[in-house]
């Protein structure tokens, strides 16, 4: 058995629940044993029971603390709201993404006039308030940005 074969077996094991494996080939016997707590899979599985509570608490604190300082990006014109420059292209930004001042957030189209809306500040995009392809009014809120 080659060293490469061993490596491959170990890699494969990492993706499974199996903790112990014995292989025999050409007279060589190999026994691989993995301690349960070392498995990344197990660690990931344990997390949800603890972490969500913490996350909720953190989120609530942020929401309370930042409600006043959230920046609202509004539409300067009447038009149609697009999250991406073309239907095939990826969105300018995703929710939760950190953006820089001047970074493009979306396009408002009115009469073949494309108005690229930029972020007014550095921060994190907390929420999109309009769905892609929907009409928007003058001054309508589009995004909430947390300038933290």
């Amino acid at each position: 058995m080659e060293l490469e074969d061993l490596k491959e077996i170990i890699e494969l094991l990492k993706e499974t629940d199996i903790t112990e494996l014995q292989v025999e080939k050409d007279g060589t016997k190999v026994k691989i044993k993995r301690e349960k707590f070392l498995q990344p899979f197990e660690i990931a599985a344990q997390k949800p029971s603890v972490v969500p509570v913490q996350e909720t608490i953190v989120k609530e604190i942020v929401a309370e603390d930042s409600e006043q300082r959230l920046i609202t990006i509004t539409s300067p014109i009447v038009g149609t709201f697009y999250r991406a420059p073309s239907p095939e292209a990826p969105s300018f930004i995703e929710i939760g993404q950190r953006v820089k001042k001047g970074q493009a957030l979306c396009i408002i189209e009115a009469m073949k006039l494309m108005n690229e809306i930029e972020s007014e500040a550095d921060g994190v995009v907390v929420k999109a308030l309009v769905e892609n392809g929907q009409p928007v009014e003058y001054g309508e809120p589009l995004f909430l940005i947390d300038p933290a």
């Binding site: 300067p76 009447v78 697009y82 073309s86 239907p87 009115a110 009469m111 006039l113 108005n115 690229e116």
Partner: protein, 321 residues
């Protein structure tokens, strides 16, 4: 700043004597002759008559030093001509962002590698035939009136081709330039505006000038046409560009001094959309009705079957009859 020989030759269509040129430029007659030769090598056709002097017969296609003196004024400040670009709008926007080019700069390309239309659509842009140009302006308009730029470009574009090609070009809402229901030109404006002001506007215009039907890709042959096809002969790109920039300046002046009404009136007059039964595709939905009118910002008022008027800000129109 010393006057250029080309300014002297293009400022009047009559002959300018060699002596006058040498005096005005402060150079010898031999140097004048050398400059004339240089211009001829660049493609300028200059007539020389012994007792009269020199006269400019024809400038090469898309020559900035020929175009600029004919349009420079209150609105237009500079012209940049490029052989090949990805897209004149993209170049204009990136130049404006990086180098802060002067508002009033016009960018013209002979060919675009990825000419674009609305929502990332492609604009067919082969070299040597058509006009692809983008104009950078910082308009004195309230952001909520920014759509008037679309109306402005449509009216100026239609009038330009009516004059230079002597053909009945009309406007399909909001700003397609049409000849007998085939598209001859398209306009895409990109702006950077916040609720307080318009920081930058780039008006991009593509005009099919000397395309023959066979030059169009097959899928466009039934829906696209050119100035040449309509006029029955080739038309110089230079002439259309000059006329277009003059028309844009003219209507921009009216818009900023007299307001929106005259421009909206001119749009209605050249429209081939109003009064027709249309279907409009907006994203994944479509609706149909009569294209009743445009409102005071140029938005389409669609009269639904119920009689209700609905304002449309963006969408693709198909004529139903």
């Amino acid at each position: 700043m010393p006057e250029s020989i080309l300014n002297l030759l293009t400022s009047c269509d009559a002959f300018v004597s060699g002596q006058e040129i040498s005096t005005r430029l402060g150079v010898t007659r031999a140097a004048v002759w050398k400059k004339i030769s240089g211009l001829r090598q660049k493609g300028f056709v200059i007539e020389a008559v012994p007792s009269k002097g020199y006269r400019l017969i024809r400038a090469p296609d898309l020559a900035a030093d020929y175009l600029l003196p004919r349009v420079k004024g209150a609105l237009w400040k500079d012209i940049l001509v490029r052989d090949t670009v990805d897209s004149t709008n993209d170049l204009a926007i990136s130049l404006a962002a990086k180098e802060g080019i002067t508002p009033g700069t016009v960018i013209i390309a002979d060919r675009q590698k990825s000419g674009k239309g609305r929502l990332g659509r492609r604009w067919e842009s082969p070299g040597g035939k058509n006009i692809y140009m983008s104009m950078v302006i910082r308009p004195e308009l309230a952001p909520r009136d920014v759509t008037m730029l679309t109306v402005l470009a449509a009216v100026a574009g239609a009038r330009t081709i009516q004059k230079t090609g002597n053909i009945p070009v009309t406007i399909k809402w909001p700003n397609d330039l049409m000849l007998a229901d085939k598209k001859l030109g398209g306009i895409l404006t990109e702006v950077r505006a916040d609720p307080d002001r318009i920081n930058l506007a780039v008006i991009g215009i593509g005009i099919n000038v000397n395309m023959r039907p066979a030059d169009f890709p097959e899928e466009l042959r039934n829906i696209a046409t050119s100035v040449r096809s309509g006029a029955g002969h080739a038309v110089a790109r230079n002439d259309i560009i000059i006329e277009l920039l003059r028309e844009l300046e003219h209507w921009y002046g009216i818009l900023t001094k007299e307001g929106k009404k005259p421009l909206l009136h001119a749009w209605r007059k050249d429209s081939s959309t109003l009064g027709r039964k249309v279907r409009i595709a907006i994203g994944n939905t479509t609706m149909s009705g009569i294209a009743e009118d445009i409102d005071d910002n140029g938005m389409l008022q669609l009269k639904m079957h119920s009689g209700e008027l609905r304002n449309i800000s963006a969408g693709d129109i198909t004529f139903l009859r």
